[in-house]
Every structure is written in structure tokens, then in C-alpha cells.
Symmetry: C3
Subunit: 268 residues, 3 copies
Amino acid sequence: MNWNAHGAKILDMIRNSKPLVHHITNLVVMNDTANVTLHLGALPVMAHAVEEMEEMTSIASALVINIGTLSKHWIEAMFKAGKTANDKGIPIILDPVGAGATSYRTETCHRLLEELSVSVIRGNLGEVSILAGLGGEVKGVESVSAGGDAVDVAKALAAKQNCTVSITGKEDVISDGTRTVLVDNGHEWLTTLTGTGCSSTTAVAAFSAVERIPVTAAACALMCYGLAAEIAAPQAKGPASFKVAFYDALYNLNAEQIEKGGRVREVS
Amino acid sequence: MNWNAHGAKILDMIRNSKPLVHHITNLVVMNDTANVTLHLGALPVMAHAVEEMEEMTSIASALVINIGTLSKHWIEAMFKAGKTANDKGIPIILDPVGAGATSYRTETCHRLLEELSVSVIRGNLGEVSILAGLGGEVKGVESVSAGGDAVDVAKALAAKQNCTVSITGKEDVISDGTRTVLVDNGHEWLTTLTGTGCSSTTAVAAFSAVERIPVTAAACALMCYGLAAEIAAPQAKGPASFKVAFYDALYNLNAEQIEKGGRVREVS
Amino acid sequence: MNWNAHGAKILDMIRNSKPLVHHITNLVVMNDTANVTLHLGALPVMAHAVEEMEEMTSIASALVINIGTLSKHWIEAMFKAGKTANDKGIPIILDPVGAGATSYRTETCHRLLEELSVSVIRGNLGEVSILAGLGGEVKGVESVSAGGDAVDVAKALAAKQNCTVSITGKEDVISDGTRTVLVDNGHEWLTTLTGTGCSSTTAVAAFSAVERIPVTAAACALMCYGLAAEIAAPQAKGPASFKVAFYDALYNLNAEQIEKGGRVREVS
């Protein structure tokens, strides 16, 4: 598969069709993820009232469920939106922010994964390892340790939940349990900013809105996302100037850059 | 009327008197709208607890009600704050974010407009068209279609609700049903960022805090807001560098720039 | 005491040990304060669900309680987290945003201070004056007047609550009732942005996570924070370009800059 050409094609489809991405996400990253959605060419909507979940999710092309700042009523909305998404065949992208840090987060993820059919889980190594039952440690929202390397951990959770799992890190891993893909794009500056993991989840959602093979959607999304970071890096004098350049680069990302810079390989 | 001179004068009044603008607004734009309030010279406060609505609104000079991320208790606060504002003669600026996308949003707006006396409604064409009963489509928070052109739609809702309505778009329309004013300032970069509509509502509120003729306040606010975007545009390499330049330009906006760049005309 | 050398040492300790700072903070500044935490080298987590307070606070090295956008369930979480912090010896940093503007805010602060043992209160002059029982006026979240000068007011509240109090302003004052320290770092640009007070509270928390003498932690934090603002100022063309340069400067702040630029003096 020509990942670079395909990634450029999906990005084009997003820009042409402007799919709506419904986010139930955390309070820290809402502004950032709304902007990332727009910069990729999709339309964001943030909504969490149970009263409007069915209608709002119904008109969306992808649903992000991000548990970064959980509370009771928001969980209720996640289930309501998730069931609507499942009924309508709308892909759900789950970001298990801080799973493992508290049992409230871990158990909420387990319940979501039990009751909903999730398309892609996008997390860090610790979070995914814990959800896979392999142990690990998460300090707040930061991965500290895990029960295996990223490929094994992603495969384990993918097999357990029968979905696609992507673990972002120095190298991103995407696996549906059978196929496993590595994305070597990205830049260290991403680790100096809050919400860059959550925003990568948003990218996966935007790509999933127009590309229905989850592994393909996630790999192409993370390739484009990481590539924009690389393009921005030379302009960074620190995290904030990096962020400005990164968002600009996401918006300006074109087929030529992707053709030249994408580094994706399928390993199984 | 010399709109440019008057706009510069209102901006000056804001900077001198630093009116407090109480926002009950959505979770996506809070940081942005607080900054826009400050950059224009006013003071922002975000508060949504029913317990403090009466006191907080009482000390404000304008109240923004923005329904972008609704939930039950926040609606309760909107009514409480709104009634206080009406009792004290404090102008209410309503931003019907996503009206039409879900019945929860549409009905909440209808109830707010029924029970409160609103000074200015600031929305996009689809949202305003739906509230005017003219039909239309809103995809998340994006206007897709409407039941008429912006002038007719603004006039219709203004007449129906007996208030001033402003629809922002390529050209902004402000009407109280009798007088109709067009503002030709603005820039396409504004459409690449989340919350620029909400922030224009904030500008209308800051101007309404010191100028009590709603059409005048809204037209001058949107002229200054759009002009800052034009001034910033040449520095933009993408949405994020545009945003930095735009906020800087709002803060630095002066009478000379407004005199030279404002493009407002009264059409009826 | 060599404040500059000590400040540089604490900053180094933060960067090496990456302490977790648990924030229960307002909706306006969450993204900013998470980034400031990261840029200083610590790890942020924002969490407010009562269900996870005990576990989340337990793994943190400092707890920020910021009342900027209060509501009932969040107050419940503040007490739960605060009691956990007290039980575990984790320092609590309280930001009484808008105390005095409404009785809901004032009374919540009084209750928090009564039931919890707080390490440092960081506020503006009006807020602290009101909590000290000296009167004053707060317009939204802005200090308008106070019942004394900053040194007297800080000392009064410190004595009353038996904790350390820091008042930020043109010159920052830190006092535990006995020792009083002034920090002359900072820049006017900070006043043009929302949340820079809240972010200074976050800095105090990050420093408190590794330095257990509250006066020392707060003074060194405010010195570093203010110094980064000074370093950034020459690059500012307005508030937004200042913010980018300021965050970059916080991240890049080094011992040499602190040695050269810190201006702290103990006055009693």
C-alpha cells in the first residue's frame, strides 16, 4: 500500500466533504481539538448534554469520546452518544486519558469498551497497557511504565476488544490485532505541550470520518499529524512558537509534503 | 452618521471605563473570549453557578449568553442571570451557537427569547434563519443553508423578537427591523479558527456595555473586530499565526486605523 | 539567602523529578495552566470528579484549588481533594479568584480555609484583603481597592490563617506573617492576558511540590515566572505575541538568566 499517496487522498476527502466530528472531550483541550479539526478541513462540534446526544451524534461522521476530565453526567452522555453512533454506523474513537491513574477512569473505559463497539482506541503506552490487562503505571495523564513494548501491548488490547488500537510515542503503533503498522513521523516538541495526544485522537477521528478501514485511517492520520510537527519544528523557539507553527503546518499540509515526508510501514 | 469616528469613540470609552462583561459561555471559547474582552479594554468574568448569578450579573455592564455547550444547570444560570440583567437594565447579548443542529439548542433559544428581553442576537445565517422560523440547516455549529438572504433573515428575527439581530458572514448584517446596517470588514482567516463567531459576540457585548443603541453598538463592534482581522491578515502563514496577529491587532487598534479602514453603511 | 541560586536549584529539581500537580481549576485557564506546568518541567493533571479525588490527589505532589468558575459539585471535589492532600502532607495552593465579587466565592474561600490547611494563598490585592477581613472591592476577577497596602494585607491574612500568602501585582509580596519577601520581577504585558494570575498560582504549586518552605517556594516561583515575562517582553507586539514569547521563555529559563535577573529581597 502506498501510505503517503493514500494519506494525501484522505486529507483531500476531508477538505472536500467537511465531515462533522462530534467530540465529548475534556475541558483542557476543547479549544485545541476544535482548531485541529478545522485545520484538517473537518467541522468540530463539542456537545455533552444528554438531552441532545442522539440528535447531535446522528448528524456527525465520527464521534470522539475522551475521558480526560470525567464526571457523572458526561459519562452518561458518552454512553448515549456512543449507542447512537453504533446504531448509525458512525465510528467511535476513544481516548482513555489517564486510564490507570484512578480506578474511576479505568473502570469507565472498561464499561465503555464493554457496552460500545469502538473503532479506534488512541492512547499512550501506559494507558493502553492497563486497559489490556498487562499492568503499567500512569502518573496523572503521563505514561510511566507498561507491561510490554508498544507493538505487543497494542496487539493485546486490539485482540481483547476486537478493535484497532493506536499507541502514540516516539514511534506510533497501530494494530487491529492482525495488521500492525508503524508511523515514524512526529517530533519531540509535541511532548512539551498539553493536549497533543488528545489532538492526535481528533486527527484519527477526522480521518475515520472518510476512511472506513480503521488501521488505514489511524495510520494516515498519525502520519499527517506527525509530519506537520516535523515541518513546524525548525521554527520553534519553545513550545508556544512550536504550537503556532504546528497548527499552521497542519492547515497547510499538502500532497507533496506527505509524498516526501510520510514514513509508514506495515510490519505484520 | 460617521461610523468610523463613532466606533473609535466607543472603543475609547471601553478602554477608559473598563466595563465588566459577564459571560455564561461555552467551554470551547472561554479563554479566547476572555482575552478578546481584555484586548478591547473591558474586563471579563466567566461565571455560571446559579448561586452567584444575581450578584455577578448585577455588577456587570453587559451579559453574554452563549449556548455553545449547553447543559441543564447552565441553562438555569442563563435564566437567572438574564432576569437580573433585565431588572437592572443591563444589555443581554445572545449567541445561539448551533441553534437548529439539535432541538435542545433551538428550544432553549426560543425559551430564552420568550422569557428575557435580549438586546442583540449575534449568530450565523443558518442559526438566525432557524430562530426566525424561516428554516435552514446547521451542521454542528456551521451554517449550511437558510430561508433567505442575510438582510431578510436578520430583519425577520428582529421584527419577531423586537430586538437587534446581527448575522456575521462575508458581509455582516445588523438590523433592528427598521434600521439595517452592513459591515464590510473582516477576513477569510476568521473562518479557519474556532470561536471567532463567539468572540465577535463578545465584542458586541463590550461595545454594548458603553453604547446603548444596539444597532450602533453591534455595527461598531463588528467593524472594529473585522478591521483587526484585516490588519492581521498579511502576517498570517496559517490560522495560528493569524490568531496571534489578530489578537495583537485588536489590542493595538487605534482611531487612525478605524478612520481609514472602517466600512459600514446603512442601507435602510 | 541567595534567592537566585536557590530559585534555579528548585527549577532544576522540578525538571528532574517531574512532580505531578493536581489542579481543580477554572474552565478559562485549564489549557494555559496545564501548559505552564509542563513548561516548568512538572506534570499537570486536571480532574474534578468526586469519585476520583482521593486517588488522584494521593499520587500528586501539590494540589491547586482555584475557584475561578465555581459550582456545587466542584466545591465538593475541592474539599475531598483538600482533605486527602492534608492527610498525605501534600501542599495545597489556593487561588481565590473573584473572592469579594460574590458572597458565593467569598464564603467558599472562608469554608475552604476553615476546613483545610492551606500552604499558600496566591491572589490579587483585593481578593486577599477581603479574605483578611480588611474590606476592598473586586470587579469580576479584577482588584479595584483594598483595606491596606500589599505588605500589610498579606501579613494580616497570613496571621489570620496561619499560612503563607502571596499577593501578585507590580511588586509581588509573599509573607507567612513573620517573614516577608518582595519580588520585583514581572512585566505589564501580564496584565493584558487572562489567566496570568492563575498561571502564577500554578508556578507556586510546581515549586511547592519540591520545596517545602512555602515562603521560599512562592518567592522563587514568582521570581522565575516574572523573569520569564521580562525576557519575553521585547518580542511582544501585543498580548498574543507576548504570550507565545512568555511561554517559550518559561520553558527555556536557565540558571544563568535567573542568576542575572532575579530580584528578590526579604524585608522582614
